[in-house]
């Protein structure tokens, strides 16, 4: 089981890289969807089959892997958008930064005062790396869809950390958290649609009228 978990986590990190390097919004969304779907398997792989993990896994899969990407893809289709406006600093620099951050997360995790059973594991570094990559996406991308994707990746990183705490989050709360995420992305989708209508672009650099 341990091996499966690690493979899942590695896959999560690879998807991070892919998202940083890809310019096609469609495939970015699909990649984040795949990441969400993989994440849904992690509680099952890490803690075995219990009622809690199964419900959490199914819920996370349905929302992170299916519904949220569907919402985003639908929004994208309506806006007839294919390619993003490009990152502020180019794809290769973002990828290099992403790799640096990921490596730093791995080194940093070794210095953390972790509990003995988590030392040397992949959970914490993956979580941190995913979190930072989400941030990187949020900061370096100019279009609204990629920023939402960055937010989702960030959430995914937190989700990875959350699986360490097994049952600290009661199912009701966990469901609420996922629901919030879905409704949040849904509303972001609506706002994106309005941005597109109003400004004829999703480039958020155009959103700069409010100052001072």
């Amino acid at each position: 089981m341990y091996g499966v978990t690690n493979l899942l986590l590695i896959a999560v990190i690879l998807i991070n890289f892919f998202t940083l390097g890809s310019s096609r919004l469609n495939s970015c969304i699909r990649a984040v969807a795949a990441q969400g779907a993989l994440l849904a398997l992690i509680p099952l792989a890490a803690h075995g089959l219990t009622f809690h993990t199964v419900v959490l896994g199914v819920g996370a899969f349905a929302l992170k892997g299916v519904l949220i990407p569907w919402v985003l893809l639908r929004a994208l289709r309506q806006m007839r958008l294919r390619r993003e406006s490009g990152p502020l600093i180019g794809y290769i620099p973002t990828m290099v930064l992403g790799a640096l951050i990921t490596s730093a997360a791995f080194i940093f995790a070794d210095f953390l005062p972790l509990r003995p059973e988590h030392r040397g594991g992949l959970f914490i570094p993956t979580s941190l790396a995913t979190l930072f990559v989400g941030f990187l996406l949020l900061m370096t991308r100019r279009d609204a869809v990629s920023q939402v994707l960055g937010y989702l990746v960030l959430e995914n990183g937190i989700f990875v950390f959350g699986t360490l705490l097994a049952e600290a989050m009661p199912l009701m709360v966990e469901a609420g958290v996922l629901l919030d995420l879905l409704v949040g992305v849904f509303i972001m989708g609506i706002v994106m649609d309005q941005i597109q209508r109003e400004f004829s672009t999703l480039n958020t650099e155009r959103l700069s009228a409010l100052k001072g």
Binding site: N6, L7, I10, L14, F17, V96, A99, T102, D110
Partner: protein, 303 residues
Amino acid sequence: MIVTTLLRLVLLLAFAPLMLGVIARTKAAFAGRQGAPVLQPYWDLGRLWRKGIVVSRTTTWIFWAGPVVAVTVPVVASLLLPMGALAAPLSFEGDVILFVYLFALARFFTAAAALDTGSSFEGMGAAREVTFACLAEPTLLLGFVVLARLADGLTLNALLGAHLAAAWGSSGASLALIVVCLMVVLLVENARIPFDDPNTHLELTMIHEVMVLDHSGPLLGLIQYGAALKLMVLGAVIMRMVLPVDTGNLWLDAGIFLGGQFVLAVVIGTIESVMARLRLARVPQILVGTTLVAVFAVVLVLR
């Protein structure tokens, strides 16, 4: 020892073009065609060997050296590399470096031969080839760093020893990443889709093929034969990582090696069938990404 060495040479020299045939056959199957016979690359080589040579007056001996080096290098490199479980006859500490730079040498001569013709298209191809190779090389080296970390020695024999089977259990993640990275390097180095299209007919989009436009007859045959050898040698690295099986029986080992190469050829054919060719500008991006993934694999084994 002698038997093993001879057997290895025979395997390499005789079966390398077969891989090209299998790839072509796989692609044909995907496209719903019957395809050329598997042995077609051999017939092609034979046809080229019987043809005459046309050489431009502007060229020098370098033009001739290119194809020769292209064939010799994979053969020499193969002597350093265990093919499947068949250990390399030539082995010393640090032969990894020689292995990597032998291919650089071949590239140098191919590119120089292309430049030697003075054609603008071939110069362009040479520039692209060298650029991509530059970006692919770190990945290859980093892959060997990961292997070196897992092994106890710096010979290719040690790096690709039987301990890999156990290593998959302890650091399978890194090995998986490296296999993927090396696969990308293999596709780039051998000018396969999605990085280059060996069958393309438009000079502007070619990379590798455009460099050999001026070669004809036996020289072209040598280059194509060299390419097949290179594919097999690099493929042997990957397949050894995926299939680290030692049976102890010489003939069984040789069979496993050939089987592995066959599978690899099918995989390459599949990749070529399902993927579209990348825009040229995207290729460096992918290669940098691969390098980063390899760095990440190194970080994983180092912690």
